[in-house]
């Protein structure tokens, strides 16, 4: 799996950059002046106790939530702000949509559209947003459904699919938009133990066969360790410690990391 190394963009800038990003709800600060760079093709896992801001990192990057301060850059350009004269102003909807097209997300609860079949879920946005013809969109969707092993269920509605199957369709749906960055938000947390493996296998193959930058929030420590280029441990809205999986899991330096890993690994 090491045929692939994280690379910077030609100009040396990271694909995603959080620069002093702050997000708070009233008095509660969820992200506290967060700085985080993610290189192209990098697979980054985010771990940490609940309430540490892990999921919020993904949500603000997907523009599901606004940030209170700082700037997020994607592919060298600001995501939530747009250039205006010498400075930046809050991005308009059309600017946001243009930047957002580089990002895809898979959710903990799958969030498939219940009124559409698996195939329709995967062709809806490519047709509506990218303007693909039905034939083009279906060809693309069928390839992806085959990749996630769901082509035989393409005409089923989500209610007829298991959690693992729904999540695999959701991964295909996100990929159909050809994002550069995939955000995986606790994608196995809502699944029964026996189907977690099938979803992890899909992510493994994505990681090894596709040039995709991935940011994954997870509680699956073993999987994070196996697949990541880098693991970030979040604590109270900041990165308390980060490093290669070997380093972070075997020789953590930060007291909080040690406590967290102890607690989590003991539970397993």
């Amino acid at each position: 799996m090491d045929t692939r190394h994280p690379q910077s963009l030609p100009d040396g800038s990271p694909l995603v950059r959080f620069a002093d990003v702050t997000k708070s709800y009233g008095d509660l600060t969820v992200l506290d002046k967060l700085n985080l760079d993610i290189a192209q093709n990098e697979m980054v896992s985010i771990i940490g106790p609940s309430g540490s801001g892990k999921t919020t990192v993904l949500r603000v990057l997907m523009t599901l939530e606004t940030i209170n301060d700082g700037v997020i850059y994607v592919d060298g350009e600001p995501l939530t702000h747009m250039p205006s004269g010498a400075g930046l102003e809050v991005a308009s909807e059309s600017y946001l949509r243009q930047r957002r097209s580089k990002i895809g997300m898979v959710f903990q609860q799958f969030n498939l559209f219940p009124h559409m079949t698996a195939l329709q879920n995967c062709i809806e946005a490519p047709m509506q947003v990218l303007g693909l013809s039905r034939d083009e969109a279906e060809e693309r969707a069928l390839d992806l459904l085959q990749m996630v092993g769901m082509d035989s269920k393409k005409d089923q509605h989500p209610t007829r699919l298991s959690g693992g199957q729904q999540q695999r369709v959701a991964i295909a749906r996100a990929l159909a938009m050809r994002p550069q960055v995939m955000l995986l938000d606790e994608v196995t947390s809502a699944l029964d133990p026996e189907v977690i493996g099938e979803v992890l296998n899909v992510i493994r193959s994505l990681n090894s066969e596709h040039n995709l930058t991935m940011i994954m929030v997870t509680h699956q420590m073993g999987f994070a360790r196996e697949i990541s280029d880098r693991v970030c441990f979040f604590y109270e809205g900041k990165i308390a410690e980060q490093g290669s999986p070997e380093k972070l899991f075997e020789d953590p330096q930060n007291e909080r990391t040690k406590q967290f890993l102890h607690a989590v690994l003991d539970a397993n």
Binding site: M62, E93, R100, G104, H115, V129, Q156, T159, A174
Partner: protein, 238 residues
């Protein structure tokens, strides 16, 4: 006891004056044509109410302060005042302002506006009860706000709002009897006419009740049930 004391005069009249069968043969055609008008009023005003419900229900959810306020004022007014007074306003007062509508049009408009206000609140509730994750998934796929609403949210709203909407439609059918008061020749109007000439009140209004019941129970409700099944099938639930 109460039921018996209601029924006795009815049964006595059936026995005494004229056989019910005789009454039925003579007046059934007239009442049937009144019932047809009732069905027309009901159909047109249900359609109008449905369109208004959707428009004003979505307006209530608008980010735009003015749009939201306009919808709120409309809903408050038509839910907060009497349907009968609204009906009289449209039929008797609007002409004073230079707008004269036929009795039929006035009736359909009053019913549509009134029930549309109730329906708008059902639509608003329906849209709000589509899980948040659906909005987020549509946004993550970079769909525009209009695409999210039209392609993802509204289609899912239908299955949620159909049962309360069906209830409201049955209410609407029964409320159409009010249009008799502005001279629309519907089932109630015909019944009153026959009553005025024959004084066979028990037969006339008894028959009218039964016709309303049959229309609701054996035509409208099965139709609405069928719509619910159709909608459920659309989301793969049936």
């Amino acid at each position: 006891m109460a039921l018996r004391s209601c029924l006795i005069p009815f049964l006595q009249q059936l026995g005494d004056d004229v056989s019910y069968w005789g009454f039925f043969v003579e007046y059934a055609p007239k009442m049937a044509s009144g019932a047809m008008t009732t069905a027309m009023v009901m159909g047109c005003s249900a359609l109008l109410a449905a369109v208004i419900s959707l428009i004003f229900g979505l307006m209530r959810l608008s980010q735009n302060w003015g749009v939201q306020a306009a919808a709120t004022v409309y809903i408050e007014f038509f839910r907060g005042t009497s349907l009968l007074v609204q009906l009289y306003w449209i039929y008797y007062v609007l002409p004073l302002m230079g707008l004269t509508l036929s009795p039929f049009m006035s009736g359909v408009l009053a019913l549509g506006l009134n029930f549309g206000a109730y329906g708008a609140e059902i639509v608003r509730g329906g849209v709000q009860s589509v899980p948040r994750g659906q909005w987020e998934a549509a946004l993550a796929l970079n769909m525009s706000p209009a695409q999210r609403m039209r392609r993802i949210i509204v289609p899912q709203t239908f299955t949620l709002i159909l049962p309360p909407m069906a209830n409201l439609t049955v209410e609407l059918l029964k409320a159409t009897a009010l249009v008799a008061l502005i001279t629309v020749v519907d089932l109630m109007f015909v019944a009153k006419q026959i009553n005025a000439t024959t004084w066979l009140s028990a037969q006339v209004f008894g028959t009218a009740l039964i016709i309303y019941y049959i229309m609701a129970r054996f035509a409208l409700i099965p139709f609405l049930r069928w719509l619910e099944v159709l909608a459920a099938r659309k989301v793969g639930k049936a």
